[in-house]
Amino acid sequence: MTVVILLLCAEFIAALGCGLAAGVFFAFSSFVMQGLKDLPAADGIKAMNAINSAAKKPSLMILLFGTALLCLVMIVAVLWLEGLPARADVDLVIGPIGGSVVYLVGAILVTQLRSVPLNNALAAATNADGPMIWKTYLHDWVKWNHVRTVACTLACALLMAALVMQLAWIVVSR
């Protein structure tokens, strides 16, 4: 029973984490990048580079990677621990596993494999190649950022649905 309560707590906190992460990405997808695009290229690059370096602080990293860690723990808990009510019904497993996988792939993996390399290229931009790199960045980084926004929102919804269903299951099974 303790494990079940811990799993529910992990889902609760991970749902909050996914929801907030979704909002961080949503800001850039819905208006920040469009605003920077409207500036002269050199100014846009400078502002985005400043934003990218300011983003490397503990609070944002704890939000993104702390949520990722919770997702990994939930997958392990659901798949390998015995005696979980979640295991009794496939419906109950889809939420935590599905939500976790969507977040890990759609937010963390996309960040590491797509957004970070683009950030590094932008940070290394010179006066000569800046405008070209900025043009690519505005297209590709924004595209992958849409993916992160949608993935985090979906993961948040799946985790909330899982919480409601699992709690209902626990009540019924008592």
Binding site: G23, A27, L36, G44, A50, A54, T153
Partner: protein, 163 residues
């Protein structure tokens, strides 16, 4: 718990989480970054951002969450069901007051003042420093309000079923 209530509350939780995350980004790293570059560059970037924020997708999410919050409050009051309903009412009120009202009374007047900076002289720079300080303060209030609202919305889903 009826399905309409669950649907409204899940939408509110997603909306307040998304808007809370937007505000978190600004308090946590966007404004510190814009404050770090030259004042003229910071001012121009924030002025551009304040123009593009007025788009259908963002405003729809921001005010839409407010309207759905009000709907959730009404449904909770009409079909009162103890602690879960109480959480939904408190969550909706927290979002409407702490996110929308604070924006209208705190941030929008500051944004309007920022748009009026035309020449970046000593006065413009002082206005910018004041903007960064005051806008970020109100923005942090909005961030916390959205986070509290989201926690309460999720609790509103869970408490009616708690064993």
């Amino acid at each position: 718990m009826d399905q309409l209530f669950i649907l409204l509350v899940i939408l509110c939780a997603l909306g307040s989480g998304a808007i809370g995350g937007v505000f978190f980004a600004f308090s946590n790293f966007v404004m510190p970054a814009l404050a770090r570059i030259a004042p003229a560059e910071g001012i121009h970037a924030m002025q551009a951002i304040n123009v593009t924020v007025l788009n259908r997708l963002f405003l729809g999410t921001f005010t839409g969450t407010g309207w759905v919050s009000i709907a959730a409050i009404v449904v909770a009051l009409l079909r009162w069901d103890g602690l879960g309903s109480l959480c939904a009412v408190l969550a909706g009120a927290t979002y409407v007051l702490g996110s929308i009202l604070v924006t209208m009374r705190g941030n929008v007047p500051l944004n309007n003042a920022l748009m009026r900076i035309s020449t970046i002289d000593a006065l413009g720079e002082a206005t910018w420093r004041g903007y960064v300080r005051d806008w970020t303060k109100w923005n942090t209030v909005r961030t916390i309000a959205c986070l509290v609202a989201m926690v309460l919305f999720v609790l509103a889903l869970l408490l009616p079923q708690a064993p």
